[in-house]
Amino acid sequence: MAQEKKSSSALGDRLRENGMLLALVAIVALFSVLLAYQGKTFLQPQNITNIFLQNGHVIILALGMLLVIVSGHIDLSVGSVAAFTGAVAAYLTVNLGLPFYVVIPLTLIVGGCIGAVQGYWVAFWRIPSFIVTLAGMMVFRGATMWMLGGQNIGPFPKEFQAISSGFLPDLTGIGQPHGLTVILVVLAIGAQFWLGFRARARDAEFGIEPEPMALFMGRTVLIAAATAFVGYQLAYLKGLPNVLVVLIVLTVLYAFFTENTTMGRRIYAVGGNEKAAKLSGINSDRLVFACFVNMGVLAALAGMMVTARLNSATPKAGTGFELDAIASVFIGGASMTGGSGKIVGVVIGALIMGVMNMGMSIMGIGIDYQQMIKGLVLLAAVIFDVYNKAK
């Protein structure tokens, strides 16, 4: 009896991940059907490309936000920091005429320094992160306005714009379909199956109760089909957008970091039970500090992406980004109190938000209703989690 209950808790975690994926699929299907009634096609190449282009910054911010939230903190300043670093990048590029390969690292360093300053107060002085980053939110919003003098800076040279609007060059020279994209998509699908079966084999070896074969195959085939579909669509448009490449690389990197490195493990331990982690010899202050530095760097990356996409730095850029990122993390299944949450969940969470934004916009639903619906989805996701845990 006791054993039954326990194994269900392990399966419960899996159920949630699969549930998230199903929710994403369901939302995509819903919009496809609704838009078909309006005589529009939801899943067309331009829309698919746009989902990534228009939400890339949210996913990137959410990756960093997950680590911050897992460590038991929050960062409200990322929207303002993204705006500020975007302005810095614009100033360096347009006003000083520096080339993009100098501007990009320099801006990332500025972001890292901002994260370090905030992290310093949070980690070493134990000032609540809510306060520190709320202050940061105001300070860097103001700093953005000051930097821009109330005006927009732009436009940018092509190389800088390519950060957001560029596509991977077709090294194979086929052109249509985009050869490199096809190769990468095939590799990606192969990797999904290979990694999936390897993880299964390992689970069996570790004595983890394996997921039913049908569920595993169903999911893997579904993801593979989605990948193939998206890849097919992209290959007949312009190929893989740079943003998508950056997103995939970062997602894989952060997933590996959180699940397979000692440092990643320690961050979860600090969020799970800081006192126990400390007594186990883990330097929690330094880890929290590192999470904020990382967040600053990713905020700078997101800031540059948005600036490049809009082709100008504006004082209002990045407003509300922090809330989108935080919502993605919680929709993705992270716990308010820290210590749990997965990168894959967060990316799916951000995609759910992104797909809903786009679908509702195409349908012509007003921004007023959009906000209300997004808010209710966030609430529903977290209620679902809490209910699941209480059960």
Partner: protein
Amino acid sequence: MTALLEMRGISKVFPGVRALDNVSLSVQPGEIHAICGENGAGKSTLMKVLSGVYPFGSYEGDIIYDGETLACRNIRDSEARGIIIIHQELALVPLLSIAENLFLGNEVAKNGVINWGEAYQRTEGLLKKVGLNELPTTKVEKLGVGKQQLIEIAKALAKDVRLLILDEPTAALQENDSQKLLDLMLELKAQGVTQIIISHKLNEISRVADRITVIRDGASVSTMDKHEITEDRIIRDMVGRDMAHRYPERTPNPGPVLMEVAGWNVWHTEQAERQIIKDVSFNVKKGEIVGIAGLMGTGRTELAMSIFGKSYGQGHKGSIKMHGVEVDVSTVPKAVKAGIAYVTEDRKGLGLILEEPIVKNITLANLAGVAMRGVLDKRRETRVAEGYRKQLAIRTPGVQQKVVNLSGGNQQKVVLSKWLFTEPEVLILDEPTRGIDVGAKFEIYTIMKELAEQGRSIVMISSEMPELLGMCDRIYVMNEGRIVGELDRAEASQEKIMALILKGEGKAA
């Protein structure tokens, strides 16, 4: 004279434990009645039954109060009858003023609007009664522990107390504050307030108490009048039980001295002037099990944690040698590197990450041991965890199980595994069998025995004297931050330990 309070045949059962077994207590009006007993004897449980924390119906037996049966559903009910309990951990709101605290939940108000003038006036009266010279508007956090204790009593007086229960009221107090408190108790007695004091400080009891009831293993052993009270009799009544548990047979074979702590001094983490560990020196030999006895709050945990990476306190002074060489233990990683491991008494709060699986908990203190250049080898990690699961017989379907689902004994084995994986030479076990059922206790003892036979040294901190006597080669007795004695296995007995503790108490007074 009829008794104000008569508790008859009280029994209280928790799942798996009989906390109170047919306890009787009779308190006369206007007396100060002391309740003595070892840690875990059931004193606090008895008071919780009386004050309605455990509601009427959740225990067996009768409580006759003021001539009628007392049937409290909660603390509010008992307070309405004038029974007020002051717990060891003070229940004041530090950021509120004295006046606000005194009338918290009982405000001087009409239709929800507080009459501050009257509240302050009454506060001044109450403060005078308990001998405190403070403004009613002073925030409670500005007061020391001693004064806060007096505020608690004033709070009780604000509620028309008839029976005041004080649970170890002087445990956290300095000597002169304790004296003030005891004086106040006598004064209240003169005003007709009946009081029950829970304490194991003999000098205090003999000063204020009119009668003493000794509780042991959840049963009342004896009640004596003031003129009958002798130290010997209390000690005998407190500890005089049979060896209830069994211990694995072992033939101690200690080697040379492995760890030596000398002249160790530590001050309180927040209150820099309060010294918690006072000039403590002790040693452990290779393969030896050494016990540290003492009552709760005497600084045993603080001693262990201060040695383990200065995890407790400030201003550490003294030296720690391993194999005769002084080592640096200023951080947890350094202490671990020096070969020291500390298994906490607070398993859930300080030992485990409850929502994580067994495997992640076991490797937490030595992640480098299952990683290459910062990348975890999960296969090796699982093998390590599986190894400990078999070695320590952790009962679970698999090491991927979250530890929150395990029983206390199995959780303790996970914590032990975590520290064994750091390959320590000295293991400090703080209350290793607390909250564990009898069968699992024996398993833990057996693990300790095997570790000692492997040549590891064990320092065992425990409040349960029989287990110290059953397991240890030597026992140090601690009291109020000092080591007050050292007993060999052959000469150690519960009476001797208790005598050392109580004499230490006398010395400090």
